[in-house]
């Protein structure tokens, strides 16, 4: 079976079941959006897919190989991960942060001055539009710039599977579109892309495939236009919404009217 397959995944953290029997497929060469309200378990499921969080039950395979169960180093050569935010107090340069992406391919005593690695790092910086930042210190960057540097680091891992947790959360609209365009290009090049997203309009117009999570389970999966319907948004998010056709060939837009009185998740605050 090609692509990423998650089957009956269950994750228990601190006695609480965060993910219950979740399953979805991310086809090879497609951008798959993982959506759902806060606390639905998206980040935890992503962590479990990559072996960062233990899987209590279920299976995660990538191109037929057991992804969650394989050795860390083998997995790091196959799959790259970009977390929601990554901060450090170390005065480390942007180029060195992107260089971290080469770690899975380097041996402990190998010299630091590998020209192949330097070229990959430079290309990754250019692809993420961060070449001009190479010599800046990472902690001095804005949240959005840091996010793009982390994306460049993931690209430097030359991944066949790219998993991103809210990669656009700190980005302005232009940067969001640039990042999604980049991911689409990567997917067209054969990479399997999975990203957790909050912006449903981005999911509708930029993903090939979406999986919807609620309360730790995947409740729907398929082509965005057939999944992101007013009925599903009401059931999952508890909001009344309409999908407006884009005028004159423009992309369709989801408009949100008001929160439903009783349905949907309750937020403690």
């Amino acid at each position: 079976m090609s692509g990423l397959r998650v089957e009956l995944a269950r994750v228990v953290l601190g006695g609480r079941t965060i993910v219950r029997e979740a399953g979805f497929t991310a086809p090879t060469g497609a951008v798959t959006g993982l959506i759902g309200p806060n606390g639905a378990g998206k980040s935890t499921l992503i962590g479990a897919m990559l072996g960062l969080v233990p899987l209590a039950a279920g299976r995660v395979t990538f191109e037929g190989a057991d992804l969650a169960g394989m050795g860390r180093r083998d997995r790091a050569r196959l799959a790259a991960y970009v977390a929601q935010s990554a901060t450090t107090e170390d005065r480390v340069s942007v180029r060195d942060v992107v260089g971290l992406g080469r770690i899975p391919f380097q041996s402990a005593w190998q010299a630091d001055t590998d020209e192949g690695d330097a070229a990959i790092v430079a290309a990754a910086l250019a692809e993420a539009g961060m070449s001009g930042f190479a010599d800046r210190l990472y902690p001095t960057l804005s949240g959005g710039e840091q996010q793009r540097v982390q994306l460049a680091r993931a690209l430097a891992q030359t991944p066949r599977l790219l998993v991103l947790d809210e990669p656009t959360s700190h980005l302005d609209i232009r940067a969001q579109l640039l990042v999604l365009e980049l991911l689409r290009r990567r997917a067209a090049g054969g990479c399997t892309v999975v990203l957790a997203l909050h912006d449903l309009n981005l999911a509708l117009n930029h993903c090939d495939h979406v999986a919807v999570m609620k309360d730790g389970a995947v409740v729907a999966e398929g082509a965005p236009a057939s999944i992101l319907t007013p009925a599903l948004l009401l059931a999952v998010y508890g909001v009344h919404a309409r999908v407006l056709p884009g005028a004159g060939g423009a992309a369709p837009v989801i408009a949100f009217d008001r929160p439903a009185a009783e349905a949907g998740p309750q937020y403690p605050d």
């Binding site: 960062l52 790091a76 107090e89 005065r91 480390v92 060195d96 971290l100 770690i103 380097q106 402990a108």
Partner: protein, 349 residues
């Protein structure tokens, strides 16, 4: 044009510096050691010092100086210099590793209570009559302090830098109280004073067996730590980030923390609780060579060795013939640096 020119020559100078900084430090270390041996009441020239060393290494048939002066070099000053270099290198290495693993710029074997734990273990074994096993006691003590610190961090739900320091203060206070009690209960007159001066950190009385022990611990631990240089870089963004880059986080952390505890234990057994070296040296070196551990670790080792050599030389010659515990000097230098780090990393505490 001119700007580009300057930049190019600047970067080639930087490249040259990158290339030669380690050999330069090795040369500086050898020169420092030679000079340190010449310091003291009995006048020894650098040439004589090397003559004595070559003679004892079997490379020179006769010693260039009298038997007494030969003994001053070979039995007193040289083993002490070797021990100082090793202790400095070991503490700097331990501090660098702890700062990376805990993502805590204030981490240091002394501040996190490891040194106090080691001192308790050492004094305990010493007063129990097992003086030869003192290094083992120190290792067990520092390991216990480390385990306690990690346990408390777990209970607190994660070790932030300030939590780690507070835990360290608590562990240090507890271990110091136990050490004082042991000394108060068992030690008499002379041994009391001796233990006290050792506790403040002193390399006075270091002999070849001490120097050998320090060297052996470095030979054992340094390669393990140096080999983890790249993995330590990956810890900059936390455990999950390191794991996603293929680092075996748990196994590496325990390996490196055990090596750190071993180094700290041996250094404390030989030199007492010498504070702040593991804090000052890594930060100073980071300013000069950057944050990548492949470069940082060996530089920190060498700078730590040079730093300790000179502070120890100052400790024994500033108020000659009285000797100052070297821990007082490292604290005098280290405490202001600690403050500087606090101000610089304001956001994290």
């Amino acid at each position: 044009m001119a700007g580009a020119q300057v930049r190019r020559s600047g970067s080639s100078a930087a490249a040259a510096l990158r290339h030669f900084s380690l050999p330069a430090l090795v040369v500086l270390l050898l020169v420092s050691a030679t000079l340190a041996i010449t310091f003291g009441p009995a006048e020894i020239s650098p040439g004589e010092a090397w003559g004595v060393i070559l003679h004892h290494l079997g490379l020179r048939p006769e010693s260039p100086v009298s038997r007494l002066r030969d003994a001053i070099v070979w039995e007193l000053r040289l083993p002490r210099a070797v021990a100082a270099m090793g202790v400095g290198a070991g503490l700097a290495l331990a501090g660098t590793v702890m700062q990376a693993l805990t993502r805590n710029p204030l981490a240091d074997p002394y501040l996190l209570g490891l040194s106090s734990g080691a001192a308790l273990g050492a004094v305990g074994f010493l007063l129990a009559g097992a003086a030869l096993l003192m290094p083992l006691g120190a290792f067990l003590g520092s390991l216990a302090a480390l385990a306690l610190a990690l346990l408390v961090a777990q209970l607190l739900g994660g070790a932030t830098p300030s939590r780690a320091i507070l835990t360290g203060i608590c562990i240090a206070a507890l271990a110091s109280a136990a050490t004082s009690f042991l000394i108060f209960w068992t030690a008499t007159g002379d041994s009391y004073r001796e233990i006290l001066s050792w506790l403040m950190g002193s390399l006075g009385g270091a002999v070849w067996s001490d120097a050998g022990l320090v060297a052996a611990s470095l030979v054992l631990c340094a390669p393990v730590i140096l080999a983890a240089g790249r993995a330590l870089d990956a810890f900059a963004f936390g455990d999950a980030a390191a794991a996603s880059l293929g680092v075996e986080v748990t196994r590496l952390r325990w390996t490196l923390l055990t090596a750190t505890a071993l180094l700290t234990g041996v250094m404390v057994a030989v030199g007492g609780a010498i504070g702040f070296v593991g804090l000052v040296v890594p930060h100073a070196v980071r300013l000069a060579v950057g944050t990548r551990h492949r470069r940082l670790l060996p530089h920190a080792m060498l700078v730590g060795a040079i730093f300790m050599l000179w502070t120890d030389t100052a400790a024994r010659s500033l108020f000659d013939p009285r000797e100052l515990p070297v821990g007082i000097i490292t604290a005098l230098i280290g405490a202001p640096v600690f403050l500087f780090i606090l101000l610089r990393y304001r956001r994290i505490t």
